[in-house]
């Protein structure tokens, strides 16, 4: 399909956070651009646009991916979860709560990507070592925390999921 401005376009259908969305996108558009500008889901961030920083990480068809490395048209028919699908400000997911309690972020720009990387790790490994946690977030850059509090948050989230008290409860 070609639009009036001669920009090649396609109509694509995505299932995003359980909702089916159909929209028109330019063939050149990246998935991250369509998530943010076409779907209005601004929680997925644009960082490096080179696949290095991980701020644009989402889950697509059950796998975490960097959405700056996918053409939106190529994602046609796929099912996605973005950060808006993980929790809400009033109802944080357990993982988000662990990040909140451990001060696992400062500016928050990298946070959605780190949450997806951590979620992916914990889905397959309920009791990760520190080395495994650090390896799991190797594709996500943070320029505030020095990573230590992120590692603490993920370890704490794993502990909670295994039925132990989290750091916040222990303090209380």
């Amino acid at each position: 399909m070609t639009s009036a401005s001669d920009t090649p376009t396609h109509v694509i259908t995505l299932t995003v956070n359980g909702e089916t969305r159909t929209l028109c996108c330019a063939d050149r558009q990246l998935l991250v651009e369509v998530i943010r500008d076409g779907l209005g889901l601004k929680g997925t961030h644009v960082g490096c646009l080179s696949g290095d920083c991980g701020a644009c990480t989402v889950e697509m068809d059950g796998k975490i991916i960097k959405s700056c490395l996918v053409l939106a048209v190529g994602a046609d028919g796929s099912s996605m979860t973005t950060i808006e699908g993980l929790g809400t400000p009033d109802a944080l997911s357990d993982l988000q709560q662990a990040f909140w309690d451990a001060d696992g972020f400062q500016c928050g720009f990298c946070l959605p990507g780190h949450l997806f990387a951590a979620r992916d790790l914990l889905a397959g490994n309920p009791d990760p070592s520190e080395a495994e946690i650090r390896d799991a977030i190797a594709g996500n850059l943070c320029r505030c925390t020095g990573y230590q509090r992120i590692v603490t948050a993920i370890a704490d989230a794993a502990r909670r999921a295994r039925g132990h008290a989290g750091k916040a409860e222990e303090r209380a």
């Binding site: 920009t7 050149r28 080179s50 991916i65 700056c68 048209v73 799991a136 190797a138």
Partner: protein, 278 residues
Amino acid sequence: MRPLHYHAPGSAEQACALLAEHDGAAVLGGGTMLLPALRRGERSLRHVIDLRHSGLSGVSCGPRGLVRVGAMTTYAELARSPLSGRAAALTITARAVTGGAQLRNQATIGGSACHANPASDMPGCLVGAGARVVIQGLAGEGVVTEEEFFTGAFRTILGHAEVVTGFLVPADQARVGYYKLKLAEGSWPIATATAVLGPAGTDMAATVALGGVAAQPVRIDVSRAVTEDGVVEPTFTELIRSAVAEPWTDELAPGSYRRQVSPVVARRAVKNAIGVRP
């Protein structure tokens, strides 16, 4: 900005036909190299041919006991495959690729081979594994060795309207070792080595393939310098260093450094391979 047309052919044959039909077309594999380059304006394309629906992913049993790895197989798919142990060199390397689970879910074996970045994990590994490359063209399918495939830095033997459909990997390499030198977690490797050892014995065959140290991977027969106890010096170092006659220089390291570290990286790969029980 020039208009970009997206195509998603249903087969490799259709991809070749599209490449022949359109000037200014490029093949899209995992997207990890082409899309950032397109975004930065380093590549100017009119057409992108996406192979994601061309049926080129997956690991299967190939002819003559070989393992066939589809070009669009991602590193994560390879590592998860029930046949991963039979393509051991590729699997060990795929698991070691940097960039997080996201990159391993997206980057493809074929994409890495076709990009032919000297400072990359997979080209050296494919040469080390003795893999053959299956190429689809307009006239049909052909097979070349990996050493024939890589013709220089960022250059391959691929011609106009040809695509890589997969790799045929020897499945009997029980003892393989991989080592890479890099100076930061997210960095491309400065030097890589894939060691493949034959069955233990007085005539043990041993090869090392180096990546990152020259414009294209270098495969070296080190059988006379490797025993079950490790490498035999100074023969091993001499063999490795003499094979790196024209070392590769980029922003990560000068060629002189790469040549200097080559024997160390190769030795560590051999040590890793010796540690693998057949």
